[in-house]
């Protein structure tokens, strides 16, 4: 049964974001604020970088504010101003990515002014932007969200998000895949990755894909087939999942933007589950200078060494 989700708090959240952005731009706390603004299509929203006080009134927060804006703060994205302190509008899920990036020395807390969003959820990728937010149209990641009210921000509007209990989908789908035989699982991922067109939208929106040059773009020598064919497609998605293991904060942007509907977040959630079991590590809750795959302790599981 489709449950309606109450998004009435977003109007007050929008006002609060505008006021705060205007305040921090006027008093010079920040040089720019990265947030969301309304776009042409009914109900749609898009990222915006606001550096003039009068433009603070353009900021909004609605169920169509789906992006993880942390991507604009990584060094691979050079166009966003880096001078001074930067304000950024963050949902709880996005904040986990920022925490991870701080741990990897890509950002420092002092350079950021975090405007946290009390969030009841945002829309899934394939629906029209003016769709009402319900238990059906909500983004899959929001079904298992544990960060409706981001912690540790410089400013959070006073609204309290009230969210209904929703059926979890990733956990169920991972359990279904784990129950398959390796051959069945391989065939599932081969079919999914056969759709990949190597547009690299998954990489480009990922806050953790901040390498100046991606291994998969190298051609002297070529490390991974760059053409969208089965061998290179599977290699690309496995390489990416391995590089994100223990780092991916679960914003699910890769899956949201995939034009071919490849369920990429399943790979990342599965890796996160492995990391939790093997190293009792979860990405995105506190700033860790060393991730589990970048350190060694004698307590690490060594049962795989035969």
């Amino acid at each position: 049964m489709t449950q309606a989700i109450d998004t009435s708090l977003y109007a007050a959240v929008t006002d609060a974001i505008r006021n705060e952005a205007s305040r921090i731009l006027s008093d010079g706390t920040v040089s720019a604020v990265i947030g969301y603004t309304a776009a042409r299509r009914r109900g749609s929203a898009q990222p915006i970088v606001v550096s003039r006080i009068e433009d603070a009134a353009k900021l909004i927060f609605t169920p169509a504010c789906v992006n993880n804006l942390a991507v604009y703060l990584t060094k691979a994205k050079k166009e966003v101003p880096k001078a001074g302190r930067i304000g950024v509008v963050v949902k709880g899920c996005d904040l986990k990515a920022l925490v991870g990036l701080m741990g990897e020395s890509q950002l420092t807390r002092e350079r950021l002014y975090l405007i946290g969003v009390p969030c009841v959820g945002v829309l899934a990728s394939v629906v029209q932007p003016d769709t009402e937010l319900t238990s059906e149209s909500i983004a899959p990641k929001c079904r298992e969200c544990d960060a409706h009210l981001p912690a540790g921000c410089d400013y959070v509007p006073a609204q309290k998000p009230v969210t209904p209990e929703l059926e979890k989908k990733y956990a169920a789908e991972i359990a279904r895949l784990e129950a398959l035989t390796p051959a069945e699982r391989w065939s599932y991922w081969k079919e999914q990755s056969s759709k990949c067109i190597k547009c690299y939208a998954c990489r480009q929106v990922c806050p953790f894909c901040f390498c100046e040059q991606c291994l998969c773009d190298r051609n002297k020598p070529q490390m991974v087939e760059s053409t969208p064919r089965p061998a290179g497609n599977v290699a690309w998605h496995i390489v990416r999942a391995m590089h994100l293991a223990g780092r991916c904060a679960g914003c699910a942007e890769c899956e949201r933007v995939c034009p071919m509907d490849i369920p990429l977040n399943l790979l990342n959630r599965k890796m996160a589950k492995e990391l939790k079991e093997l190293f009792d590590h979860e990405a995105g809750f506190e700033v860790n200078e060393k991730g589990p795959l970048a350190t060694f302790t004698e307590k690490d599981d060594q049962s795989f060494i035969k």
Partner: protein, 336 residues
Amino acid sequence: MQKYISEQNLNALLDKLIAEGKRVVAPRLNAGTPLYEPLASAAELVIDRLPRRSGKEAFFPLCEDIMSYEKEGQRVELQDIDPVRFPETVLVGVRPCDAAAIPVLDTVFSWDYKDEFFLERRRKTTIIGLACTQADDACFCSAVGLSPGDPKGADLFLTPLEGGGYACEAFSEKGETLVGAHHELFAEPNGAKALPLAEPQTDAFDLKKVKQWLDEHFEDPSWDTIATRCVGCGACAFVCPACHCFDIVDEGTEKKGKRRKNWDACGFWKFTHHASGHNPRDQQPKRYRNRIMHKFKYYDDKFGQTLCTGCGRCIRLCPVGIDIAAILQQVEAKVE
């Protein structure tokens, strides 16, 4: 000459073509995603959804081998691909925005260099177009001079009728040949009215005004505001029916491998990365500017056509909500 074909007979036609050994490419579901792909049977046809990618890949595949090589000691053997072997194809259910892009591609693939891979597939393909009865607010074909009922690019064009079935009209010799060869499946028009066409909501652009601004504003600060948020993926170009840039790579080992032609996109950082290390489009806004310039200025300068048919796919799928129709509106508004 108008004919009528029922849904059942359309399916029978596709099954017959498949049985004759032709490649029938039409919208079907691939792991849940609608794509133009070869059908195993007409039962796979899913005609009511716009495929996620365009019809261009029937002629310009995502990736194709163009040569193979083998090397042993001093002996090097090169093997060309023989385009004559490409299969006879019928491309079915092509929306006007996709069909109209095909003659646009013909122009560029038969210009100074004749791309036999594209042209041979093109010669061997018959296109069955389909009028659109549904549009969303990303659709803007009518804003760039087309319409949901425009048969441009189609050899045979189907218009859905009230009460089921299609009005069918041939627009080329290929279309007439296809009807003639299977005349028993086509009937005389039954007088049913056509279903109302889709009504895209975007007002028509004055593309001359757009071009005028582009002609004069290669350098302009507004490119930064237009494109700062672009993350540099290739999604827009890869789902576009008219984008046609490609890369050529050799893949395999030193001893054996293939030379392959695959799609490329101007949004990518390495698209214009020179061997010297210099990159003339070193920032994302410059890359996005190229996309707009190519579609609405360069292609027009060279071939007198616009390289956009308003399918709206890039708008629906842009990870960061870049809306090409909104950008054209902004550009148009800048001209007095």
